[in-house]
């Protein structure tokens, strides 16, 4: 089929390359611990992810946009269900037991949010979007966000915001309105602080003053910076990082995988990896620009927004410029839901790209 040629092989290649680096790093960070062998599971998920990508890329994105309202209602319902029956793992209700897999619904909802926002701004309008649209989008994104927050999963809930922002931005919201919204958001922060969980407050505090309690909440952040910093230019070499091997770095296979990677491969390895991510994102933006229509472009840009947010916040946390929020590094962190979501999202982008030459 000629359409396979139109698949974005470059983006797929970059994604696979990053995922392979991730599997190597998961292996290196967990060998000799109770998590040893977890990388095998990650390989299965990678294969499943690639299959998912191909499957999703066969689904016409127009159908997705059409089904947006139904997908949205389904999502809100599922999130509600999670709150009720979701398994309490790590004191948060994020997973729905689905056979042998635990499905993290909020990851899938991310995809739905992308579709909903794309659908909202896809139509031509007489006037540029204004505050009214901002409020509508806010409500649309806000309901599932609050449900995810109630799980509680602040990190994932926050990933919905960049999608909304990207939609408003590309939808044409005025600069001025954007700035006012940003200010409003800042003003809401103190209110949010009051409703935050103690551990979340502690994380934020330790981000602002990491030396205040180096063995308590600031521990993870400090250990992560020690791991990254001691990597130096060339890194300590694979399987030699004392921070990772000595178990000083917490969860080196998931949230702090970048710190473990940077310890072992140093500054050069770090910027190389960041460059791969940037290349992938830029390639997707390029796909968005050549999308056959506004809806398709918005879909891809939604994917870009989520992935970029993940990468920036996760790496930012590892190097100490962002607070600890426990969101995974896409394609690298160990964990099936995240990997499957990423490949599904890439699948959507692929479908948009493949549709650009098709006229029906």
């Amino acid at each position: 089929m000629s359409r396979w040629r139109d698949l974005d092989w470059i983006a797929l290649g970059l994604a696979l390359l990053i995922a392979c680096i991730g599997i190597l790093e998961i292996h290196g960070a967990t060998v000799g611990t109770k998590f040893a062998g977890i990388y095998v599971k990650q390989i299965y998920f990678l294969v499943a992810g690639v299959v998912l990508l191909f499957v999703v890329s066969r689904i016409d994105y127009q159908l997705l946009l059409d089904a947006a309202p139904w997908l949205y209602l389904l999502s809100v319902g599922a999130l509600g269900l999670v709150l009720v029956v979701g398994r309490a793992i790590f004191h948060s209700r994020r997973w729905i037991p689905l056979g042998p897999l635990h499905l993290q619904v909020s990851e899938l909802v991310k995809l739905v949010i992308i579709v909903v926002v794309a659908r909202y701004f896809a139509g031509t309008r007489n006037a540029l979007p204004g505050f009214r649209d901002a409020i509508r989008i806010g409500l649309l994104v806000g309901v599932p966000m609050l449900l995810v927050l109630a799980e509680p999963d602040l990190g994932t809930a926050l990933t919905y915001l960049p999608v909304a922002a990207m939609g408003l931005w590309l939808g044409g919201l005025r600069w001025r309105h954007f700035a006012i919204l940003g200010l409003l958001g800042l003003m809401v922060l103190p209110l949010a602080w009051r409703h935050m969980h103690p551990y979340q407050k502690a994380r934020l505090e330790s981000f602002l003053r990491p030396q205040a309690d180096p063995l308590g909440t600031g521990y993870q952040l400090l250990q992560s910076k020690i791991a990254v910093g001691s990597g130096g230019l060339w890194g300590t070499g694979a399987a030699h990082g004392s921070q990772t091997r000595g178990a000083f770095l917490p969860v080196p296979q998931t949230d702090f995988i970048f710190a473990a990677y940077a310890e072992q491969y140093g500054f050069l390895g770090g910027i190389a990896l960041l460059f791969l991510y940037l290349l992938l994102l830029m390639r997707l933006i390029q796909d968005a620009q050549s999308a056959p229509d506004r809806g398709g472009g918005l879909l891809i840009m939604g994917v870009v927004a989520v992935l970029a947010f993940h990468v920036l916040v996760n790496v930012g946390m590892a190097v100490g410029v962002m607070p600890v929020t426990g969101i995974p590094l896409p394609l690298m962190s160990s964990g099936g839901s995240s990997l499957l979501f990423t490949f599904a999202a890439l699948g959507v982008a692929m479908n948009v790209r493949m549709s650009r030459f098709v006229n029906s």
């Binding site: 178990a247 933006i285 840009m301």
Partner: protein, 637 residues
């Protein structure tokens, strides 16, 4: 079928470019953050990573031993086991405390109090739970390794003191460093430092330098490997001038009588024996004494913690007559003074009794010293006046610290009109001069001062600073600064010295005040002293029990041999009432000294005779012992 969402409408290019620009900028921020961490501050973070995984533990350095003049060990070390709490090993150690306290037979409340005090120490530093644990405790820890992984045992070198209180106050004891000690000696908390006696004075010399053990650990504190550490530098041995044999004789002679004995060589100032009774068992202090035991020591009316040889400031009684005699001889009065003692005499309208109610009759200086005639010295003191007496007393070394190398020496007191004005805002009464002339009233001396001063007079007026460490063996940096002069002189003519000697010889001969202390065939002498602790009238009103507590102090100062003595002894027997008791104690020490000297001379003579008739290599037998280990020169590491 599907509705196209405006396929002709594309995304605004300018806004896409803004997104691209922002993305690139954000990634640049990450790269800069990476650059800062991994390139700019690389060393800082690498050091932190090393600190993370390398745990350093001190290895206590064994303290140097304290030896007597011939190398016999007075204070040594032995290995003991201690129980440690490694808090990193088990974060829930607090819950185990009651079980641990029961297993190690510790008081839970006391244990918790001690742990609270060490709350601020980093968790990787183990906390000492119990010292000198018994084999049963070791078995308890070994058999509960799974249940209480936070328990560890450690071998420590411990101080071993003579258990019977032998020279206890002189040797001193060690204890855990206080914050002040930690600052002064630059040591970590928990280090043992000298608290009193020689242990405190020569702490720096004895202490040594702790080593370091470095182990690699993971985040749970589990040891993953070892790194090269620093071995501890043991402390230096301290060779003292004490003679264990003589010390032993003095200890035995004192028995359980409260008081003090000092024996020194006036020729060089070396202290040969120093006893203060009652004493304590210094080993009790090594492992922390209980509150009750400590209170008992503090409340003991006989003050076992005091080193009375240097800290008991008491009226010297008739021993002071020697100083008055020297003053009188130097002033040219005493040689010619003869009094007719009728059991007392009147001065300034007040009658002063002699200790012999019937009187001594016609008395010259020699007789006055031998029989301790008070009237003779009342008269002599009255002629000299308080200023002259005080001048000689001070010039001969009284009224100030001798500068012995022990902490806490007291200066004593020689009264003067100026002192009385300053202290009591009262003029001096002439009657007080009479009292001071026989060593009573507001005059205070320590046993060491008496031995030092009388010994110095007996060798012609050269006063060597008393000391317990051989001169020059301990570098000045390793003990507190000593401002007392190494020696001072107040030259006395041979006539003066022999006049005093003549009187002192008779004291321990029939007719003398300490005739019972005579040692046939031994040329020695001394002077008795009986000092009231309260006035006669007060004493009469005391009950029977209190009378015992306020009975006169018995003193004796002895010299051997009388000509150019090498031994000066001062004995204080508190509330001993009769001074010849003190003299008997002194005579035992003198006898022991003479016996030892004769034995050594015989051995040396025999070896010499043997050596002279044999091959030269036998000379080695009489060669001096090898010099003691000296601190290496500063240029060497």
């Amino acid at each position: 079928m599907a509705i196209r969402y405006h396929s002709d409408d594309v995304l605004p290019g300018s806004r896409i470019r803004v997104v691209q620009f922002l993305l690139a900028a954000a990634f640049l921020v990450l790269v800069l953050a990476l650059w800062q961490l991994q390139i700019l501050h690389q060393r800082h973070w690498k050091q932190l990573a090393r600190d993370n995984r390398v745990r350093t533990e001190p290895i206590p350095a064994p303290r140097g031993r304290i030896l007597d003049r011939r190398g016999r060990v007075l204070v040594g070390n032995y290995a003991s086991f201690s129980a440690l709490l490694v808090r990193q090993e088990e974060p829930h150690w607090r819950a185990d405390l009651p079980a641990i306290a029961a297993g190690l037979h510790l008081d839970l409340a006391q244990l918790q109090q001690r742990l609270r005090r060490q709350e601020s120490t980093p968790t990787y530093q183990p906390i000492l739970l119990k010292d000198n644990i018994t084999p049963a405790d070791v078995a308890f820890i070994d058999s509960h390794r799974d249940q209480f992984p936070e328990l560890e045992t450690m071998t420590i070198s411990r101080r071993l003191y003579p258990s019977d209180g032998y020279a206890a106050q002189v040797l001193g004891y060690v204890g855990e460093a206080t914050p002040a000690d930690m600052a002064h000696y630059h040591v970590a908390a928990g280090t043992l430092v000298g608290k009193s006696g020689l242990e405190a004075y020569y702490n720096k010399w004895l202490m040594g330098k702790d080593g370091l053990r470095r182990v690699m650990v993971n985040s749970r504190g589990q040891v993953m490997g070892h790194l090269p550490g620093v071995p501890p530098t043991p402390g230096h041995d301290l060779r003292t001038t004490l003679d264990a044999t003589l010390q032993n004789a003095a200890e035995e002679a004192m028995g359980d009588r409260p008081g003090a004995v000092v024996a020194l060589n006036p020729q060089n100032g070396q202290v040969l024996a120093m006893v203060s009774t009652p004493a304590y068992n210094a080993n009790d202090f090594t492992f922390g004494i209980t509150e009750k035991e400590w209170r008992a020591l503090l409340d003991n009316p006989d003050h076992p913690l005091l080193n009375k040889a240097i800290q008991a400031e008491l009226a010297p009684g008739s021993m002071f007559k020697i100083i008055v005699a020297v003053a009188g001889l130097e002033e040219g009065i005493a040689q010619h003074q003869v009094v007719d003692c009728k059991g007392g005499a009147t001065f300034y309208g007040h009658y002063y009794k002699c200790w012999v109610p019937t009187g001594h009759g016609i008395t010259n200086l020699a007789k006055a010293l031998t029989q301790s005639c008070d009237v003779f010295f009342y008269t002599l003191g009255n002629k000299l006046g308080i200023q002259t007496i005080a001048h000689y007393a001070k010039a001969l070394g009284l009224g100030r610290r001798t500068g012995v190398d022990l902490p806490g020496e007291e200066p004593g007191l020689i009264p003067t009109p100026a002192w009385k004005q300053r202290r009591f805002h009262q003029p001096w009464w002439n009657g007080q001069t009479i009292i001071v002339s026989i060593g009573q009233g507001p005059i205070e001396t320590t046993p060491l001062q008496i031995a030092h001063t009388i010994g110095g007079i007996a060798i012609g007026g050269t006063f060597m600073r008393p000391h317990l460490a051989f001169n020059g063996e301990v570098p000045a940096a390793d003990h507190p600064p000593n401002h007392a002069p190494k020696e001072f002189t107040f030259p006395l003519s041979a006539q003066v010295v022999s006049a005093v000697d003549a009187g002192l010889r008779g004291v321990v001969l029939p007719g003398g005040t300490a005739a019972t202390a005579e040692i046939p065939g031994l040329d020695w002498g001394g002077k008795t002293g009986t000092a009231q602790t309260v006035s006669d009238t007060t004493f009469k009103h005391l009950g029977r029990k209190l009378r015992r507590r306020f009975m006169d102090n018995a003193w004796f100062v002895a010299l051997y041999p009388l000509q150019n003595p090498t031994l000066a002894i001062c004995v204080l027997y508190q509330h001993g009432s009769e001074s010849y008791y003190a003299a008997n104690i002194a005579s035992q020490v003198v006898a022991a000294y003479a016996r030892e000297r004769r034995k050594r001379q015989n051995t040396i003579a025999a070896r010499l005779r043997h050596a002279l008739g044999a091959t030269p290599r036998h000379w080695a037998l009489v060669a001096p012992p090898p010099p003691p280990a000296r601190r290496s020169a500063p240029s060497q590491p």
